[in-house]
């Protein structure tokens, strides 16, 4: 049976499954308990699983992640919520210097089954520090895995897969898509895709568009907008580290064109990595250089210009025009 759920609710149900499946799973963060999180992703979980498992923490991100490390050494599986993307940085030291390196430096004796959930990205008209896309900082760090869901079914399964993973995972939630609805197969006993796999979400023949998180919807909208004129193949990366580029190579070899879309600035971002690897693997198939449609290389701007800053349907289609104009 499938249920129609919002992406936010799908995460909530997924977290509930994880708490049921393993009593070592803990949820911790600011306002995650009684309030259910500022986005209500943990709504009702403290009520049902108790204050020992769903923990309102002191207001200190370094403390949230640092204590998660200790809890993990003790055998727990902490799922940490960072309230907004821009507030992860007080914890950055703990994440990149401790969480990411424990397994390596213990030669595998210590596991860090920690999930760091971060609502990320813009488009909600917020004040500064509430709309950022910090994925490259984390994807750049060896030892961390980074994933992002784009639809309710993926949200439901990916969060459970992340919690079950013995590696630390930065789990990026596209906050502006929290309210989007979709079918979720809550009866299935296992996910249909491994966590670290990219997926073709719309087949096409003329040009490949790669996106993840909030921009998958934008890419799909662009594909619909030019349907009949041009056939765009949209790929949802889902995993940013490790990258699963097999489906991208396969696609580019057919279409000869690639556009990578993300909200984060282009400079040294995910698009740069994808472009470099696709160039290495598909050089003779490319009809045009790999193009990036991204946020600009500025700090995230004030809300009243964020629409201009963020890639939207028109910007993606402009990218499509440019690749065909080559």
């Amino acid at each position: 049976m499938t249920e129609t759920l919002t992406l936010g609710k799908a995460l909530n149900v997924g977290l509930r499954r994880s708490l049921e499946a393993d009593d070592k799973v803990l949820i911790m963060g600011e306002d995650v308990g009684k309030l259910g999180g500022v986005f209500r992703i943990t709504d009702g979980l403290q009520k049902d699983f108790g204050e020992d498992r769903v923990i309102d923490t002191p207001l200190a991100e370094s403390g949230i992640i640092g204590t998660a490390v200790g809890l993990a050494i003790r055998g727990y599986r902490p799922v940490c919520e960072i309230q907004f993307d821009g507030f992860v940085y007080p914890a950055y030291d703990q994440i990149v210097s401790q969480v990411a390196k424990m397994t390596y430096r213990s030669r595998g004796k210590v596991k860090m089954p920690i999930v760091i959930r971060i609502p990320f990205g813009g488009g909600i008209g917020a004040v500064e520090h509430h709309s950022e896309s910090p994925e490259a900082y984390f994807a750049h760090t060896a030892g961390l895995k980074v994933v992002s869901c784009s639809n309710p079914n993926d949200a439901y399964w990916m969060i459970q897969q992340a919690v079950a993973s013995d590696d630390p995972i930065v789990f990026l939630e596209p906050k502006r898509r929290y309210w989007e609805k979709g079918e979720v197969d809550t009866d299935a006993t296992a996910p249909s895709f491994p966590l670290h796999s990219a997926r073709v979400v719309r087949p096409g023949t003329d040009c490949t568009v790669v996106a993840y998180g909030p921009m998958v919807r934008t890419a799909l909208d662009a594909a619909t907008a030019v349907d009949g004129e041009r056939s765009l193949e949209v790929i949802d990366l889902r995993s940013l580290s490790p990258l699963d580029l097999g489906p991208v190579y396969e696609s580019v070899r057919r279409t000869g064109r690639l556009i990578v879309v993300h909200e984060a600035p282009s400079n040294l971002g995910m698009g740069a990595e994808v472009a470099a690897r696709v160039t290495e693997h598909c050089f003779y198939s490319l009809e045009a250089p790999v193009l990036r449609v991204t946020g600009f290389n500025t700090p995230y701007p004030a809300a009243r210009v964020e629409e201009e800053y963020l890639p939207d349907l028109d910007r993606v289609l402009d990218g499509v025009d440019r690749t065909f104009g080559w």
Partner: protein, 381 residues
């Protein structure tokens, strides 16, 4: 532990704080408007001063209500209301000397007002037309800081600079005040600010508005001891004041600022108050606190007690109170008009001021973006 002793039974790992005892704090004006004495603190206000404080309290509350209304009507993206915290902000704001420097959070609209700054200034941030772009040195009031606690370190560094400049101990002494909330006291940055200011004897006052909540989390999630007591461990005095008593807040803050100016280093003030409204306009406090708690605090309202005092002492009549309300209303209307008039920024300005001198990458992006925008001109887009 001697044999036979039994460990106290623990049923849960999260220790519940005992219900808070009635706090002891410096108070000069009771909720009923009675003027009371304190052995160490007093104020020597003229009748006009008392009326002025009342006017400040009413005005900042009225302007705040206007901003909340503007948010409800979609004219502001969000608003962080100071409702309930007027006395903490007016009392401390009025205690400042012109040369003193303020490092606010995102809620210090009342302090800003008392500094003589046009209350329109922070509204561009909440409307989303900019990020609160004013010159901290021009106004002696730093830009609002949203990342919890970060500004306490900035304030400490600024205060270290004041000391380096020799502006401590003399008649032209400067002091610095850092505002933050109860939740912020858990942050590493705030604790580091305590360490630094103590070690370097910085001329700073840490002004914590303990409004009992950090969004949904009550004070017990941040501390097992009264917050002001933390100062002792860092090596400087801490004091708790009735944050809803504008007179006491004024007296305590002025004293702490004087001490800082005279080279006696930092003080932590805990202004014990209550956030009467939501955390911000995005928040729904009914999910985490009960109405009776809010009602109990209503009886300690910071504005009403000054009015009661003025009435009892026959320092003001109805004509005065009406005039204050009317003047505040006019200011609110004026504020509203100017918010509605704020232009949206030209999107091309996105690329300005990332660096003092620009960059080739940004120049290229600006050029491409301008061409892109131009491609829509004349179309129905």
């Amino acid at each position: 532990m001697a044999k036979g002793d039994t460990a106290p039974a623990r049923t849960r790992t999260t220790r519940r704080a005992k219900p808070a005892p009635a706090p002891e704090f410096v108070q000069l004006l009771t909720p009923e408007g009675e003027r009371v004495d304190h052995p160490s603190y007093t104020v020597d206000f003229t009748d006009e001063d008392y009326r002025g404080l009342y006017r400040d309290l009413v005005t900042v509350r009225r302007l705040d209500a206007e901003a909340t209304a503007l948010q409800r009507q979609g004219e502001l993206g969000i608003w962080a209301s100071l409702l309930g915290q007027e006395a903490a902000q007016v009392g401390s704001g009025r205690a400042l000397q012109p040369q003193d420097m303020v490092f606010p959070t995102y809620r210090e609209h009342g302090v800003l007002y008392c500094r003589g700054i046009d209350p329109i200034m922070p509204l561009s941030l909440f409307r989303g037309v900019d990020q609160g772009a004013w010159d901290p040195n021009e106004f002696k009031f730093n830009m609002y800081t949203i990342v919890i606690g970060a500004q306490t370190l900035h304030a400490t560094g600024y205060a270290m600079g004041v000391a380096k400049d020799g502006k401590v101990g003399g008649p032209d002494g400067e002091a610095v005040v850092a505002y933050f909330g109860d939740g912020a006291t858990s942050q590493g940055d705030v604790n580091e600010a305590f360490v630094w200011s103590s070690v370097f004897n910085a001329p700073i006052v840490f002004f914590c508005q303990n409004n009992q909540y950090a969004i949904s989390e009550p004070l017990e999630r941040q501390t097992r001891v009264p917050l002001f007591q933390r100062a002792a461990g860092f090596g400087f005095p801490g004091i708790r004041v009735d944050g809803n008593d504008v007179l006491a807040v004024y007296a305590v803050t002025r004293d702490a600022l004087d001490n800082a100016r005279q080279g006696q280093g930092p003080t932590l003030i805990e202004a014990y108050t209550y956030r009467m409204g939501a955390h911000t306009t995005s928040d729904d406090p009914t999910r985490y606190r009960i109405a009776s708690e809010v009602e109990a605090w209503q009886a300690k309202d910071p504005v009403k007690r000054v009015r009661a005092f003025l009435e009892k002492q026959k320092l003001a009549d109805d004509a005065f109170f009406d005039e204050v309300d009317e003047a505040a209303r006019v200011q609110a209307v004026h504020l509203r008009e100017r918010v509605l008039d704020m232009p949206n920024p030209d999107p091309r300005t996105l690329f300005d001021h990332v660096y003092s001198e620009g960059s080739p990458l940004l120049d290229e992006e600006r050029e491409q973006f301008s061409a892109y925008l131009a491609s829509f001109e004349g179309s129905a887009h």
